[in-house]
Structure formats: structure tokens, C-alpha cells
Symmetry: C2
Subunit: 456 residues, 2 copies
């Protein structure tokens, strides 16, 4: 199809919106390695996972052969409240960069959670409700996932208990207040409410917490309450499945206008946005139908894909969760407190890790002040104030566009703009006041962390 | 046309977006009274206004006969970056309220300024740029207008100087930081930078400022700098003209689906959103083509339309601006510090004031805690966390929907959801912690303020 005149924003109609999620694993020759029981090192079975996760979500987690899952009607209705998200042609950024490249971004920030996290939150909350549960527990770092889950639970009338990394809880009172508006209870982690939390507080009284610790607390809280299950906002296969809505919408919109991306770029913390964005494109590539470049962008301060090892590791600090085979910095790794925003997780989605190991996914790391410079430049020309996380993808997309300017190539770049930075103004203020630094872990620090990996 | 099956959200295509603004005054039999020179009490001429406003904006301000103004191409391009805004069918709210009413809202919050203010900011910045000016000055209260203007100026490469009401400046550091991200300079008002500010600080050393004072400072700052003009985010006729984009889009979207509203509701501070939303509908009514109910909703703590007088008054505290005939509480009126968000202006758009005086516009006031209760209920079912200002309209729309439930009437309600509450979490926190009160000015207080009105 010949490329037509492209509007600034492409919105699919309700009829054009995807009715199924796409399960990339079905098309992968090398499947992601199974989760292992941390005690026996045997693959986790459906029954092993039942005390922690909702039944239907376990089925999705374990199924690596079914390519498409129907999206239930209630979730489709909820999606219609804030989706489709626009696919935006970055005409102004192209002009600013004087690049022959054509830049598109899929913008997931037009909802109150401020990010793509809502796509999986509503799915997980729905299956919990459907199973007759009373509530769910989870952790949140920067606060996007906790907010998304609170919104989904408020909509469905489900109780929502969020363990929020203490440092973030104290620095982001407004995120906490949004969750309260949606009726969630928010506890700073580590807390006195769980054994894991009490142990950690005894060992490190002044700690500001970590995502890995908050996960342990949320899992313990779910397992110890009747009618509760734990839900997670990234890393897991089920989350990649739900987030495929991002890529499916983006691909449908591009197909409508006969546009094919050359490069697809996403920021990567646990991998939920990147995995969702690339899913249908990567599927084509795996089936030999098309060729793309895929680029994962991560912070130099938490570089799991670029400097981590591909090995089985714990998903949490408390070592209560299953083991996952992934690129990891070690479950004990804690990024520098100077690092702003999310993308602080020590590991990476097993699906994306496998793709990376198979040479299908490029990865690069970027330093923090460069990211905020790109963010500010983007905000001024494209109007949207981006989240620090999303700005990692912006930085890489701008670098690719500048490369095109230098080579004269008219490539088409697609990147994921996962969310808005409205609750990250403390970080922007630090950037404006030149109080932001670019700490990068040393090889020695990483080696020390790798030495703690379980031997499997 | 028969009513079709309506999607959750209606987005116009770029082709369907309005190419002209509509000037409601052209269809008004009783025109809004002219601005008067505060010294001579003569109508302000084009030349009188030139030191303060941009030339083209003065032409728009004074023209009450031309019905349509072409929107310049550059503004249309900017509009395409964040518009069209969605017209949303509130299916979930309808279900929650068990009302036979059909509720629609025009959502203007999907942009980084967080409100409809950007519609006029880009227009005013464009005309300033077009005239070869170096920069503009303005005031901001809650911060939405200042942010919008900063965004527009960053896009066009224009200097932007914002006087921010000191109380708001201190309570909302993040709003200030967003403006800085867009390159604006932000000064707390009253400041030492202007004569008006210095005088006020001498008389009231501890004052947290007011919108009326910040206006005076911004006007003085513009008049005393080469290549600068003053711009204002509400009240003026030119702003109503630019904001007609809201109503024009809403009407086009409703016409596409054969929907006709019975009641049209908007919150009203200076009147820019309400004036813009109702413009094309009111035009029909004035031409005898259709009948609607129009309802302005204001806070009980700052009730210009419901308890003010219709008289000539100063637009600012410093009494440097022209006099406008409007519903006013007196230029010296300062709302209770407990009052959250915007809608704090002592006066009301002369256009809306005239419509009110002619019996064409209903007005009601609502108390603050009721507004926040409605806001929270709305957020939980519709997903969007609304701005406190917009929540005044939500409260009235919900009341109308409940009336329909009681009478069984299947009315169609349209309201303006002007923006998001992401920077208003301090107010939401007060509400959650039961620290919010409902101060309403006494008749004696208002009378004291009316006694200070100029005698014209």
C-alpha cells in the first residue's frame, strides 16, 4: 500500500480496536524458561502458583502455545473508556531535528494512571473479581502501577492493598493521594505488617526500601489473607500478553496508512511496555514475514540487559517468589538513590530476556541527564511532558533520527511513549537545578551482586 | 437524524475539525457593554488598547459583528497536536446513577497544561509572534493558564513571564516546575518587580496575593518592557472567541450522531470554558433555531453570577485595567483561602454576564465538599481524576441526572470537563482528611465589597 498523507494522530475506531491479546511466546522457537520453585528448583505447576496468583492468570502465564486470547467483554468496555491510545506522528520533533526520518510514537499516557500500566491492571483485577476474590495486593515503585491497579479495583469494587517503596512513598505524596482517591490502602515498604518487612527493618533500620522487598511483602500479605491474591505490573508473561494491546493497536494504525516501521524502540524496566509494543511486529519477524530492528533502552544506573547476566534468579529480595531465568543484576542490586523514576528493577521479563539471548533484540543504556535533556526538548516541541521512564525511549529515538540526518536515510521510527511526568516534577526540578548526577555501577559492584546469584 | 449507537468516545478526524472560531457576540441582540477607560469612562478604542494588547487580538476584542474568524494555519497545526478533544459518553456514570439521562462530556484535559486554556494560549502567543514581539506577560492563579501559555510560547520561541499568585506559587511548586520546563520565568505575586506589587507589599506585608493583583503586575510589566504585551486567560471577548473551538467540536461530534443536548453545563470562573462550550448552541438559540438550557456553575465561596451585581468594575486590584460591565463581587473581593483550585475571580466574562442579565443563562452555586465528593465518585467510575474547577460542572451534571431519575425524563446532558486534577492533590488530600470547609461569604461582606464599586 502506498503511504498516504498521515494525520498528526491516528485514533482507531471502536470497531478497529483489537478484540484479542497476542501471545508472542506461541511464535518463539526458544521459549522463555519456566519459573522454578525456589525450594525444589522444579518448574512451577498450576497448583504451585494457585496460592499466589488468580487461576486464569496462571493459565495465561503457563501457556506458551496459544497465540491469541479473547479479551473479555468487560475488559473491552473498560479499554473503551481510555483507549484506543493515539499513534502520533512527531512532525514537530522531525522538523526540530531536521531529520529525514519519520517518527511515530504510541502514547499511553492519556489516562489518570499516567501510563500503559492500566492495560494489565484492569485485566488482572477482572480475573480476580471473576474468581470471586475480595481483593488483591501489589507493590509499586514510582507509583504508576499502584495507581493503575487502584483505578481498576475501584471500577470493579475490589479491595486494593499497595506496598509502596518507602523512598517513593515519602517523595511522592501525591501519587499516594491519587491511589487513596481510588480507595486503595497504601503502606510504605518495608513495613511492620509482614515478616519480610519486619526482618528487613531489623537488619536495615533506616532503609528506604526497594521494589524487590515490596514484592516480597505484597506476596506475603496476599498469601496470609483469605480471598486475596498477588498481582504484578511487569516481568511476567501474563503482563506481556495484556500489554500486547499496545503493539496490536499501533500495528493496526500503521497498516491503515500503509506505514512500516524500520526501528521499534521502547524503554525497559521489567519489560511490560517494550514487550507489548513489539509483540505483533516480533511475531511477524519470528514467522519470517517481515524484518525490523528492535531496541530496548535502559538506564545506565540499572543496566540489566546491557551489563547483567542471563541466569536464574529470584524475582524478589525476600526470596519468596519463584525463580525466573532472565537478564539480571542480582536480586540484591539496588540502584543509586539519585536515579529518578521507575526502571529500577534488577531483572527483566523472561520473554524479552530470551529474545535478547537469541540476538533478536538490541539493547542500549543511556545516562540520566541525557534522558532529561531529551525529555525537555521533546516537551517543548511535541507538547507532552514525558515520564522519566518514557524519556529513555525518546532519547534513543532522537539518536536514531539524528543518525538518519547524518546518513540521509528516510527510516521510519516507532517508539513507545509510555506515560506522562506530571508526578515526577521533583526529578525535573533536580535536573533544572543541576542537582542530578549520573551514577553508573562499577564492574566490581555488579560482580559482587552476581556472586549472590543462586547456583542452578 | 435518528440517534445511532454511540461509541464511548467520539474523536473528529482532522478534516472534521473546525477551521474557524465562532464569535457569539455577532448573534447577540444586546451586545456586551464596551470596556471603558478607567480615567475618562469613555469606551476603549483600538489605540487605547495598543500599549497592552496585540493588535490582532484587539481587533477580535472589539469586533461584535463578524460571526466567524479564520483560524490561522499555524494555530490549526498546533491544535492538531492535542486536539480534537474527545466527546465522551459517560456510560459508567449513567449506570452508577441509575439515570435514564444520557450524559456526555467534552474532555479538555488530555494535554500537558491539563485544561482547555491551551486553546487560547496558542492563539494569543501566535498573534504576539506574528506582530514581531519578543514576549508576553501574564498572571496565573491555580497555574493552568500559566502552564498553557508557557507551552505555547516554547513552541513559538517567545519569551514568557508569569506572575503567579504567591499562595499558589508556594502550595504548587510542581506547577511552577512545569512552567520552567517550558522555559517560562515565574515570579510570585505580589513581587518587588512592579510598582503595584511594591505598594501592595508595603500595605499588606504578609499577603499571599490575589488574581486581581497578579493581573495588575503583569500589565505593568508588559507596558514597561519593549516588545512585550499582556495576555489574559479568561474574561475577555477574544478568549471566548478562541474557546469556541470547544463548543464547535462538541456540536460537530453530536451532529454526526444525531444527538441534541437538552441541558449544557459548565463551570464558570472568568467564563472562558463555559463561554466556549455554549457558543454555537447559544448562537442557534439566539437565531431561533433551537432551544437549550444553559447552566453556569460557580463555587459558593466566590459567587459572582449568583450573588454579585451587574455593574462596571475594575478587572484588577491595581485598577490599571479597563473597566468592564459584568457580574462582579467587587475588585477587592478575595475568596476564602480554604477555597481550592481556580474559579476565584471576582468578576465574570462580559459576554456571559450579558446573557445572564438577559435571562438566557441559568446560574447556580455549589459548596466545596459536595464538589469534591462528586469528583471522587466521577473518578472512580469514569476513570479520569478531574480538576476541582471542572468538578463544579460534574456536581451539577450529576444533580441534573438524578433529577431525571426522579422524574423519569430521558434528557441529554452535556457538560464541560475542563481539565485534570493531577496538580491538585493537596486539595484532594485535605478532602480525604476532612480538613476542607465550606466557607460562604456573608451578605454583609459582599455589601462591603459592593460599596467600593466605581460609580458609573
Amino acid at each position: 500500500m502506498k503511504q498516504q498523507n498521515i494525520p498528526y494522530k491516528i485514533y482507531l475506531t471502536e470497531d478497529q480496536m483489537p478484540k484479542k491479546w497476542y501471545n508472542l511466546r506461541a511464535d518463539m522457537k526458544n521459549k522463555p524458561a519456566p519459573l522454578l520453585n525456589p525450594a525444589t528448583h522444579e518448574p512451577m505447576s498450576f497448583d504451585d502458583l494457585r496460592p499466589v496468583f488468580c487461576d486464569e492468570l496462571i493459565r495465561q502465564e503457563l501457556d506458551d502455545t496459544t497465540a491469541y486470547f479473547d479479551i473479555p467483554d468487560d475488559i473491552l468496555s473498560f479499554y473503551k473508556m481510555y483507549r484506543p491510545s493515539p499513534l502520533i506522528r512527531a512532525y514537530c520533533l522531525e522538523e526540530k531535528l531536521k531529520t529525514p526520518a519519520k517518527i511515530y510514537y504510541k502514547f499511553e499516557g492519556n489516562n489518570t494512571s499516567g501510563s500503559h500500566k492500566l492495560n494489565s491492571a484492569i485485566a488482572q483485577a477482572y480475573y480476580a473479581k471473576h474468581q470471586g476474590l475480595r481483593g488483591v495486593t501489589t507493590e509499586t515503585g514510582a507509583g504508576q502501577w499502584g495507581t493503575a491497579l487502584a483505578m481498576a479495583c475501584a471500577y470493579l469494587g475490589l479491595d486494593c492493598k499497595v506496598f509502596m517503596v518507602k523512598g517513593s512513598y515519602e517523595q511522592k505524596p501525591f501519587r499516594r493521594e491519587v491511589m487513596r482517591t481510588y480507595g486503595a490502602s497504601v503502606t510504605p515498604s518495608p513495613s511492620e505488617e509482614t515478616q519480610v518487612g519486619r526482618d528487613l527493618l531489623a537488619r536495615f533500620p533506616g532503609t528506604t526500601g526497594s521494589l524487590g522487598c515490596a514484592i516480597s511483602e505484597a506476596v506475603e500479605a496476599a498469601a496470609s489473607r483469605d480471598g486475596y491474591r498477588y498481582v504484578l505490573g511487569s516481568v511476567l508473561n501474563q503482563v506481556m500478553l495484556h500489554q500486547s494491546i499496545i503493539g496490536l493497536e499501533a500495528k493496526t494504525a500503521m497498516d491503515l496508512y500503509g506505514v512500516k516501521p524500520d526501528v521499534i524502540i521502547g524503554c525497559a524496566g521489567g519489560g511490560s511496555n517494550l514487550g507489548g509494543l513489539i509483540a505483533p511486529f516480533m511475531g511477524q519477524q519470528l514467522r519470517g514475514e517481515a524484518q525490523y530492528r528492535f531496541i530496548a533502552v535502559e538506564p545506565a544506573s540499572c543496566p540489566s540487559l546491557t551489563r547483567g547476566v542471563f541466569a536464574y534468579d529470584f524475582c524478589d529480595t525476600g526470596m519468596v517468589c519463584p525463580l525466573a531465568k532472565m537478564y539480571t543484576l542480582g536480586a540484591g542490586f539496588i540502584p543509586s538513590p539519585n536515579h529518578a523514576g521507575g526502571l529500577r528493577y534488577h531483572g527483566m521479563s523472561p520473554t524479552l530476556s530470551q529474545l535478547r539471548a537469541d540476538g533478536l533484540l538490541e539493547a542500549r543504556s543511556v545516562i540520566q541527564t541525557d534522558v532529561f535533556e531529551a525529555a525537555e526538548q521533546f516537551a517543548r516541541v511535541e507538547g507532552i511532558l514525558p515520564a522519566p521512564e518514557s524519556s529513555h525511549a525518546i532519547k534513543a529515538a532522537m539518536d536514531e533520527a539524528i543518525r538518519c540526518r547524518e546518513t540521509g536515510e528516510e527510516e521510519t521510527i516507532l517508539f513507545g511513549l509510555t506515560g506522562t511526568g506530571y508526578f515526577d516534577m521533583v526529578a525535573y526540578e533536580k535536573f533544572h537545578n543541576h542537582q542530578m548526577s549520573d551514577y553508573i555501577p562499577t564492574d566490581e559492584e555488579l560482580q559482587k551482586s552476581f556472586d549472590q546469584l543462586p547456583r542452578i
